[in-house]
Symmetry: C4
Subunit: 189 residues, 4 copies
C-alpha cells in the first residue's frame, strides 16, 4: 500500500486541528484594548500549540517521505497519533483560560507526553515494516531527541504541580529542540 492517502488524510486532520484552535479565542465583548488582556495567556497557549503541531506536521512529512509503504498496523498507529493531537485544542483552551494554573498545565504536559509516545509507536510500526537497510532504519533506529523529550515532558508534568510556569518554559524548550526537522533523514538522503 502506498503512503499517499494516509499522508493526505493526516494533513487534513492536522490542518483542521491547527486551525480550529483559534476558535477557542472567543471574540471579546467591547472594543477597548482592555478586553484583549484576558486573551493574552490564551494567545500564548495558542502559539505554543501551533508550534508543536507544526513540528508534528514537519516530522510526519519527513517520516513518510522516507517510508516505503503502509500496512494495517501503521494506519492504526497513525490514527492513534492523530487522536492525541486532536485533544490539543481542548487542553490549549483550558490552559489559556485558566492563566497557566497547575492542573491544566499538567494535563497539557500529559497530552504532549502521550502524543510523543504515539509518535514513537508509529515509528516502531514503520521500522517493523521496512527491511534493515532501509533509510528509515538508518535514520531512526536510535532516537536520542525523542527520548530526551520524553524525559523533559515527565519532568514538566511533575514540576507543574509546584511551579507551572517553569513547566511551560520546559515545554517551550522541547519545542525549540524539535524546531529543526529530522536532519537524520535529510542527511542520509
Amino acid at each position: 500500500m502506498k503512503t499517499g492517502r494516509l499522508e493526505a488524510f493526516s494533513d487534513g486532520v492536522l490542518a483542521i486541528i491547527i486551525t480550529i484552535m483559534v476558535l477557542e479565542m472567543k471574540i471579546p465583548q467591547g472594543a477597548s484594548l482592555d478586553t484583549l488582556k484576558p486573551l493574552v495567556p490564551l494567545f500564548l497557549s495558542y502559539v505554543l500549540s501551533f508550534f508543536y503541531l507544526g513540528i508534528y506536521w514537519n516530522n510526519h512529512h519527513h517520516l513518510f517521505q522516507a517510508a516505503n509503504g503502509v500496512n494495517g498496523k501503521i494506519l492504526w498507529a497513525n490514527l492513534n497519533l492523530l487522536f492525541w493531537l486532536s485533544l490539543f485544542p481542548f487542553v490549549t483552551g483550558w490552559m489559556g483560560e485558566n492563566n497557566f494554573n497547575k492542573n491544566p498545565v499538567a494535563l497539557y504536559g500529559i497530552i504532549l507526553l502521550l502524543a510523543s509516545l504515539a509518535y514513537k509507536l508509529l515509528i516502531y510500526c514503520i521500522l517493523k515494516n521496512e527491511n534493515k537497510n532501509s533509510i528509515v532504519h538508518k535514520a531512526l533506529k536510535k532516537d536520542p531527541k525523542g527520548n530526551f523529550s520524553l524525559f523533559l515532558y515527565i519532568a514538566g508534568i511533575g514540576i507543574s504541580l509546584y511551579f507551572p510556569k517553569v513547566s511551560l518554559g520546559i515545554y517551550f524548550i522541547v519545542a525549540l529542540i524539535w524546531l529543526i526537522p529530522e536532519k537524520r533523514i535529510e542527511r542520509i538522503f
Copy 2:
C-alpha cells in the same frame, strides 16, 4: 472517471468530522480537576466515535484502492454515506452530555446502523460498476462481517431502551470486530 478526486473529497469530509467532534467537549469553567468529571462520558463517546470514523476511513481507503472507477451513482452513494457520518458529532455530543441515557444511546445506534447500510449500498454500486472477475467482486461479494454488524446494531438499539450501557458495550464490540481492515482485499492483492 478516476477515483482520485472522490477519495480526496471523502478524506476531507472525514478529516473534518473526526476533528470537529472535539469541539463538542466544551472547555469547563475553572481549573479544578472536578470540572473535568462531567466530561468523562463525553470523552468516552468521543473515543468511540473517533474509533468508528477511523474504521470507516480505513475501509473506504481499501475499497477505493480496489475499485477501478466511479460513476454518477457511486458519487451519490458516497455522499449518502458521508451524510450519515456527518451526524456523528451531533449524536456523540448528545450521548456524552446525557451520560449514556437511553434515548441518545438508541439514536447513536440508529446512526451507526444507517451509516453501515449506506456503506453496504456504496459497495453494491461499486460492484455493479465492475466486471465479475474484478478484485472488488472476489473480495466483497459476500459480506459476513457487515451482516453480523447490522445484526449487532439492531440488537444494540433494542437493548438500549432497557440497558443503555449494555448497548454501548455492543457498539464497542462491533468496533473491535472492524479494527482489522479489509483483510479480504489485502489477501486477494
Copy 3:
C-alpha cells in the same frame, strides 16, 4: 496552469462547508425525545443544503475534468462561487431555527440564486479560455437546466413572501433536477 491545485482547494472548502453546517444543529439540553422536536426543521434544512453542496461538488468535479487549464479570471470566478457557497451554513441555520419563516426562506433562495449565477460566470470564464472545439464548449455552450433553475429560484424567492413552504418545495425540485450530474460532459467523453 493546471487545474489540480484549484480542484484541491475547492474540494477542501466544499468539504468544510458541508461539514460545519452540522455545527448549527446545537445539542439540546436534556435527553427526552421532545428536545429533538425543535431540531426537525433544522435537520430538513441541513438535508437540503447537504444535497445542494453535493450537487455543486459533483458538477464542479465534472466541469474541471473537462477543462484543460485555468487562468487568473477562472481562479477568481471560482473563489466567487466558493464565497456564495460559504454562506450556506448561515442561511441554512437561520431558515431552520425559524421554522421556514418567509424572510429566511427568501434569503436562502437569494443565496441559491447568487451561487448559481456565480457558477454560470465560472462556466463562462472557462469557455472563454478554451478553443471552440473543446469538450467544454460542446457540452456547456447551451445551459437549459441552468437557465430553468434560475427561473425557479426567482419564482421561489417571489412566492416565499406569501407561501414559504411552497418555495421550499421548489428548492427541493431544483435539487432533484440537478441530482443527475453533467450527463452532457459524460456523453461527449
Copy 4:
C-alpha cells in the same frame, strides 16, 4: 524535497481559515429583517477577509508553482505565514462586531502587515534556495507591489486611530491592487 505536500497542507489550512470565518456570523434570534442589520459590518469584514485570503491563496499557488523545491527553512517560513493568517477569523470577528471601531481596525491592519511581512520572508527563503537564473529570481527579486502594500498598511494603521473608516478604505484598495495574481511569474513562464 518536493513542494507537493507543503502545498496540500497550506491549501488545507487556508481552506479552513476562509470557511470558519463564517462561523463568526452568529445566527440571529428571530426572523425579522431587522435582526440582520447588526450583521452588516460583520458581513463586510467577512467579504474583505475572504478577499485577502483568496489573494494569499492565489499568490501562494503561483509562488510554489515557480519554486523548484523546499527545505526546512521554507517549511517554517510557510508555517509562520499560516500562523498570521490563522488570526484572520479573530480580527475579522472583532472588527465586525464593533462596527469598525478604531482599536479593532488598527489590530486588523497590524495582522495584515504581519502576514505580508511573513509572505516577504517566505519569498526570501525561497529565493535563497534557488539559483540566480531561476524563474523565481527573475520574477520576484524586485517587489514594488509588496513594498507599496507595506507602506499602505502602515498608513492604514496610523490613520485608524483617527478615521478608522478611511483605514478600511485603504485595506480595500490594497486588496484591489493584489486582485491580479503574480503577473510577474506568468510573464516569465
